[in-house]
């Protein structure tokens, strides 16, 4: 109303000019971003009051890729940034080892399982230096495989969860709409388990695991056990088995002591006399397509590949790891059975090795050798 009067008095004084003034005023009013005039709220990113994590106790395993999700953004607007703050032990000591940086592999192109050489595989990943523990934009926690027991002290070997042994931290969730502090996450890393199955040692102490049947008998221990199909004992003519009661065959997954080049996987079969059985006896084994390795060397003691670690490289189904998370070693052989029919036997193990190096997988027929002879 005041503006109205102003126009009127002005226009009386300078008629023509002020008529244009009116038009200009109207145009200005129409065109100027009306938001300012009307005091409208401006749009900002949404950050829900209910952002949270479904799990605040993180129990990763050191030495492998750990990607831990659980962030619920409640439809908050991305990009959201996450920051780990106030990392401390339960007794207030600051935590720094979580943020040690170390070089680690980062994938740049998808692994398919069809790569023809180690170089082709290596071309799909590169080494970057990262904090061993960090968060990415999706709100997922990453504990990179570059972490080791030495860098990051694992949870106590006595399996206690005392506050002073536990690392606590808070997460600051932020976008342009605001920020939230989510408090008191705990990280309790398990010590390295460089391979799976890892039932042969204790997850807390790293020492040999007790026999599941007689856990108190210190003389006995647990072993990794292969699967056996139609493997007949050479002397007993019975099917060889490997279970809690009877262990005709066991498996060792262990570092190779000699003959490696830093990225080797060797497969060895030992007889009951602990001497290697010639791999050629496993005549039905598809050696070339069993492991995604190259430069296969077959001697009369072992078969050895140059491989890229971890195995499997990426947890996707390939012909080497049909389920995705475990590669497979399967040895098989055939012989003439009763009645002259050919009978096929096989044994093997689904395994994974996370730590790069020279490894061997040893099948050890403890009680008797498999029977190769025809009936």
């Amino acid at each position: 109303m005041i503006r109205f009067r102003n126009i009127k008095t002005n226009t009386r004084m300078k008629p023509i000019i002020n008529k244009y003034f009116v038009v200009v005023l109207l145009a200005a009013l129409a065109l100027s971003g009306c938001k300012k005039i009307f005091d409208l709220p401006s749009e900002k990113d949404y950050l829900s009051n209910n952002v949270n994590f479904s799990n605040k106790i993180l129990e990763p395993i050191i030495g492998r890729t750990n990607l831990i999700g659980g962030f619920n953004s409640d439809n908050s607007t991305n990009p959201i940034t996450f920051e780990i703050v106030n990392a401390r032990f339960g007794d207030g000591k600051p935590v720094t080892d979580l943020f040690t940086t170390a070089p680690t592999y980062v994938w740049t192109a998808p692994y398919t399982g069809l790569e023809k050489s180690l170089a082709e595989i290596e071309a799909k990943r590169k080494i970057e230096t990262h904090q061993i523990f960090e968060m990415r934009s999706s709100g997922e926690f990453i504990l990179w495989p570059s972490a080791t027991n030495q860098i990051l002290k694992p949870r106590p070997t006595d399996s206690t969860n005392l506050s002073q042994d536990t690392r606590f931290f808070d997460v600051k969730v932020k976008n342009t709409g605001g920020e939230r502090l989510i408090r008191d996450f705990q990280i309790r890393p398990y010590r390295e388990r460089p391979y799976e199955p890892s039932n042969d040692f204790n997850a807390f102490t790293g020492l040999p695991a007790p026999d599941p049947k007689f856990p108190l008998d210190k003389k006995l221990r647990d072993y990794i056990r292969p699967y056996l199909n139609n493997v007949i004992g050479a002397t007993s003519n019975l099917n060889l088995v490997s279970n809690n009661d009877k262990k005709d065959a066991i498996v060792y997954i262990r570092p190779l002591t000699s003959g490696g080049n830093g990225h080797t996987l060797r497969i060895v079969v030992l007889g009951k006399d602990s001497l290697p059985i010639d791999p050629k006896k496993f005549n039905e084994t598809v050696w070339a397509k069993m492991i995604h390795g190259f430069n296969m060397q077959m001697t009369d003691k072992y078969v050895q590949y140059d491989v890229a670690y971890p195995i499997p490289l990426v947890e996707i189904p390939t012909s080497y790891a049909t389920g995705g998370s475990r590669a497979k070693v399967e040895l098989s052989y055939s012989r003439l059975g009763f009645g002259g029919g050919r009978t096929v036997a096989n044994f093997g193990i689904d395994f994974a090795i996370y730590k790069a190096g020279d490894w061997e997988i040893v099948f050890y027929f403890k009680t008797e050798n498999p029977k190769f002879a025809n009936e």
């Binding site: 009116v22 009307f38 709220p41």
Partner: protein, 1048 residues
Amino acid sequence: MKRNILLYTLLIVCIICGTNAYSQERNIIVNGRVIDKDTKQGVPGVSVVLQATNKGLTQTNGDGKFSASVPVGGTLLFKFLGYNTASAKITDQTNITVTISEDRKDLSEVIIVAYQNRPKETTAGSVTVLTGKDVSDIPVSNIETLLQGKVPGLNIQNNTGAPGFRGSVQVRGLSSLSISGSGNDSFLQPTSPLYIIDGVPLDADKAAEFGFQTQGPGVSPLSLIPQEDIENIQILKDAQATSMYGSRGAYGVIIITTKRGNSKIPRIKYVSNFFVNAPPKLRETLGGNSERSLKIQQIILNAQNIDQIRRISNTPFLADSLNAYWNNSTDWQDVFYQTTYNQSHNLALDGGDQKFNYKANMGYYAEKGVIKNTGYNRYNLNMNMEFKPNDKFRFFGFVNGSVGKQNKGNGAGLLQSGVASNGQASTLLPPPSFYQASGGVLSALQTLNDNNSRNLRTNIDARYEFIPGLAASSTLSYDYTSDTETTFTPAVANGQFAKLYDYAGRNFQLYNRNSITYAKTLGEKHNFFVNTFNEIYKQGSQATITQQERIPNDQLQGPVGYDGFYSRGGGVLSNYRNATIASFAGSLSYDYDKKYVAEFSYRLDGTSSSGLENPYSKNSSVGLRWNFNKENWLVDKKWLDYGSLRLTWGQNIAPTGNLQSIYGIYNLNGNFNNTQTIGINYDLIPNPALKPTTTSQYNLGFDLGFFNRFSIVFDTYFKKVDNLLFDRFLSNTTGFSRLASNDLGIANYGSEISLNIKAITSKDFDLSFSVNGAYNRDVLLKLPEEYNGQYIRFDGSAYLQHIVYRVGRNTLSNYLRINQGVYANDSDVPTDPVTGKRYQTNGTFFNAGDPRLKDVNGDYILDGRDYEVTGNSQPLFTGGLSFTMRYKNWGLNVYASYTADRTILNNALADRIAIMRDPYALNAVVPLNDLNIWMKPGDDAKYPYPYDYSRYGAVQPLRADQTLWQESGSYLKINNLTLSYMFDKKLIRRFGLANLRIFGSTNNLITFSKYSGPNPENVTTLGRDISNGYPVPRTYNIGLNLELNTGN
């Protein structure tokens, strides 16, 4: 401009009757003729008034001739409604010819404000007036269709072609965010303007309570008004103009005045239209063997294992090509869609003069839908009568009776889902016959659906002027509608048992208004006008349905309810209403010499549906107007016809709740101690403090007319809708789950401009243009506190097209996955640097040919967290263009309308491509050559590969919730094109005709748009192009206007 003062004085202020006889002067007999400036024809019924005494002497006859005794030196005035008043000074001549011209000047118009006629130049509101001509010549079932693009700020989208149904109407943007239904059925609660027909309010949203799932006939009350009977339509947009209409005027007011009798001699006018409705271009389909070979090719080329190829042999319609049952090429769409031939007739009879006039209008309109088994018929008989023996007393009454008969087929009217799904059937199937067709076909074509909406509206209105300036008037009207629907589905169409559905509803409104007005002029220049009135509404409606799922046979179609086991429904539907509204309103207008105008008004509405603590809603307004052309420094500028500035503020407060939200819902809760108990429903906590929705609006307007050729109207406004109803979810410790609260607010701001140019006006040739446009932007102002500025309305349907409300943003945004193209090669799929896995969804990695959907949160997994706010389903720009040309007896009108800057979700295309997802299904296949589809590695395509049926379920490349389907809904539509020829009057007089005009016209002629779907307008109010919607037909019409020569 002086003329306006005169008119004002004549029409509103009581005429001061000079009784002095000028007996000393000499009288002569003057013979003369009054002719129309344009047509050069005599104008009958013109009042000849002696200026000195202001006394009517006579009226012209059918030829426009008159004869009167006039004192020499006196001045005669010639007045006729809708024409400028002409004058002639009588000196000695006894034979004069007077030319009067049609009054086209905007500002001298009389408009209706708060039920009173007021000169437009003394009102401050934003008002647009259309004449009956603007809604003639195109036969439509609902006149709203024709208002599209003619009024800036009135956004009409004719988004359904279903005969008898309405499109969407919004005045100045969104006023409600209430959405019901999900997926394609999401339905934005309409906020239609209040319609007032001859002084009686009417609820245009009446048939829309149930969203798309219309219960009952669904005939819009507006579809019962014959377009031929409309004299003018007035659209009130700003709150100052509407506040006197109270809460019901919150969404704008549209006032329709029907024709009055105005001819000394009775006139008989006849309008007839014959029109053809053609369905739009339908989906292209591959027929017969092409379908089979495409499917087999698709299966073989995309098979992932041998079993998928073997399955061909086990699929009879693919393998058994020689079987007569599978060896067809049926065009299923042709089974359902048709071109229809329709007609409408209207006969009007009117007569009388200003003292007494009458009118009767009979109308018949029949339209068959382009989907078979649908259609709309209307029968009307409207009569009115006005008796005004002198200036003190006026009596007006009307009786309107109409019957709307609608046939919805087996669909719900707006949606024809059955037709849509059956239209996709495989062409290999045999064409429909009684024994060889799917139930769906028979259901669509043989369902007997009979809907009737019978409406009777009556009104009487009387006015008496006690002393000059002080008048009382009273209006009483009764409006009764009876709605019935009967649907009979024969046994073959319903699993061997016939089905019957019966709906019966009734609606009434008793309405009374009493008003006192007082007009007074003080000291020549100070004009006051006081208008007070009260209104009482008594409204009721009740509807029931009965449904019999199985009836014994096709012959027995009633009575229903013989078997309790198969009876469904029954009882009173939720649109039950029994309401009373009482209102009191008053306004004061003041103007100083018609130069400075100030208006104030206040209105109280008490309704039974307001919360107990806020029973009255209070509507107030202020309006200021400055007619600057009357300032001394402009009054002598000949080029300036008029110019004014308007500034208004007003508030409309409308109750939002219903009885349930205020008082809660009480249910029978079983027995306690053998006594029936009644307890509250714990879903909704009662909220007696529920506040009414408050719409307040500022409007700044500017009118300018110059050189008698150009006129500009510009309005800019800010409209704030506060206290909108919104559910708050309560903590479970309260025991209740929801609270109906008022914590939602939206704002609309924008500008409207309309420009009219009369380029050429001459005897033989007229040419005029007009352009109008409106820009409206809506912003969400607030949400309940705990939402923290965002609320997502998740879509529970398979479409997953969520709607997000975010404070500070346009109110209705989509919440979708962002499509960034198609992966040309497998290597384009990103790899998670941490895990080394490719980008994946549902455990399946993306491949070449899959859509490139944005991984919003960066976890390399596409899931429910990868949605973003995008798009705006409401248009920012709307408007229209018109072009009118007359050359001698030929006339050409073109009306166009446009909508720009809105987002449409092309679900129809998504559904169309997705037909290919399962080659083993008995579905049609569609040619996709016209689309830029990925076909081989390296293709830089827009649409993903649709043929990979094995991975389809996991990857869902054609998922509806992606921005791939988001397209611009901008369009320019040539609505109407009318070519007419008016026969020469002398020629047709020989055949006993006074007027004969023939015309050809089209409706929905052509739409220019970049939109890839069939029609960017045929989408829901939420901007979804749904494949089961009713297509908008194109209409070609030949019509005839005829007036019998009843004079002499």
